[in-house]
Subunit: 397 residues, 2 copies
Amino acid sequence: MTGDLSGGDLSRLRRLNALAVIGVLRGEPALTLTEVARRTGLSRASTEDVVRELLERGWMIEAEPTAGTVGRPARRYRFHADAGRVLGVDIGGHKILALVADLDGAVTHTGRVAVTPQMGRRQRLAAVDRAVGAVLADAGLEAAEVWASGVATTGLVDATGRVMLSEALPEWTGVNVASHVGRLVSGPVLVENDGKLAALAESWRGVARYAKDVVFLLAGLRTGAGLIIDGKLHRGFGNAAGEIGALPAARWVQALEHLRSWPGDDPPADPDAAVEDLFLAARDGDRKAGLAVRRYVKDLAVGASALVLTLDPELVVIGGGFSRSGDLILEPLRRELDRWCVRTPEIRVSGFGDEGVALGAVRLALDHVDAVLHGPGELVDPKHFLTVERPRTRIEP
Amino acid sequence: MTGDLSGGDLSRLRRLNALAVIGVLRGEPALTLTEVARRTGLSRASTEDVVRELLERGWMIEAEPTAGTVGRPARRYRFHADAGRVLGVDIGGHKILALVADLDGAVTHTGRVAVTPQMGRRQRLAAVDRAVGAVLADAGLEAAEVWASGVATTGLVDATGRVMLSEALPEWTGVNVASHVGRLVSGPVLVENDGKLAALAESWRGVARYAKDVVFLLAGLRTGAGLIIDGKLHRGFGNAAGEIGALPAARWVQALEHLRSWPGDDPPADPDAAVEDLFLAARDGDRKAGLAVRRYVKDLAVGASALVLTLDPELVVIGGGFSRSGDLILEPLRRELDRWCVRTPEIRVSGFGDEGVALGAVRLALDHVDAVLHGPGELVDPKHFLTVERPRTRIEP
């Protein structure tokens, strides 16, 4: 048994060292060679070697010298987050939200187009085109410069990016979201359910970032859920995890009825605005509005308890549109969970408002970039992402 | 960047190579040096080196030469599964089952003592002493020769091996099972909930061994559940995962009432035998018994659907005492899941009868052995396990 390493071993080691350096630089402002060496545990010589390679390839750049330093300051390096751009799109019932972000996930540009739940497939897809077109133009990006795109949609999504089932939006079942968005940008298009992506966003950089097991509740005009298990998004064998709302005993369908029946018997013209009014009235002490919110939370808590009793998570996050009224939901939800659960987890309200889903879509796109970067074979160059072949998906007529 | 390895690296590599050889030998009848080298990818020289060390330490032994081979046969080696013994105990409402197994998990001896759900703490613990005493005597084992013990109990268990809450057995909440069993055997005593351990057994060597995500239903005079997520037992943040039965909307409490009300209004003297009679009568075409089973499954399926909708598992396993009547449960359960679930997973009946929980307890003990073997530091010798300090637990008066 010897310490000999083959050429293959050395090339693997070199690549692992490069990824280790990228790893310590990401999310840091800028580090000196000495700091990089200390944090990676690599020798000075190996660190210099790796840094030279990463600078050449364009994964790192030299940072501006810090002002006010006496004498010649040590050179500092940072991850080149501007080397590429990803797109995140949330296709919702009430809005299309498109975000452009750099490789650190910092959102640089935002495009938003209002839609209604009643819109058909054609109108909604046209709104997607407008939102994506606007954010790319705003960012000064060609379609070919997008490395990868993440797209969130309501409903169940299959592995090709097609909506298998959507009960919330008309004519939405069967839409191939991946191939539609794939006409607007180059690079792979990853499509996932909105509740799952909002959970991913919380786990990535939201209130759930320090928790391993999380139940995320997408509380809005549609109720959904996403699960983080052992720090990772749990998709399920058929990508249908978190669909507790399908069980009548979970009472999520009834939950929304309490909000919809306010203020009168006629369905309001804009249900979103009506619910916002309801929460405002409840906050102002309106008895009837307060009762409607309590009844909503009581029913929401049955399905939420089923999720909590199943997983026993560290944390429950309230997200989605209603999270802006989280102060009205949090305490009554805690009381109801106390009633049903063996152990009530900590409950927190999302800080992302209605942008959590789109942020999760950005993360989905970045996950793809990371998977390629950490995948088998040689370390890739940034330009590799501009030449990636689109995964083959059926193009719709 | 060079291929130099420090002394620490070399010692780590030597240990990893030894564990790799143990890994390929486990679960195999016997392998030649050439076969070991091929399966581990180690050089011939490294393999000889590792095999010599493992033989010296007692982790491997030379296998008997195969009869009928012409000429001098190549030496064959196997993992020394007899180097140690572990204990698995199931403390149930109706029986105490104690198993002794070798390091491959092969059960060599079994001890069984009948108990009743009505028994108090003192009587049940005395029965545990008898079952463990009997199986150790039968196996010819001293208490000090047990490397590790796994114990299954109904109820919620805390990290010290104490029952936090048990509604099924009288005087059982608060019992420190770890410290009680720790008086009978040396080595660490790991305690876990019965549904979780039965799930672990299915994942280890039962019908769920090829599935990553599994919902296990412990269907018996008490209904429980255990979850396997990404191939591992999911315990939950407070060790309370799978407790969906606590939610009235899941209908598991009502489910059992349908079986208990048979054949008449008086509670039967032996509920276990009465339910067995009920299943027999249902199989014989008794209309009333058939109706009771269908109602039981209908209610069982509500909680089961909540688990399935939450996780979207690959597989549902029906285990526990009623799994012997799995043929009567499987089809109606599938129909009910079809009714409520977005995607009905495959459903299989456990092949372990009422021994699955105790087998899971064996696996829990072996997990401890593996954790020490694969833990940090030098490769340990088998004799290390005879000198392990007991984890400190509160000794009960």
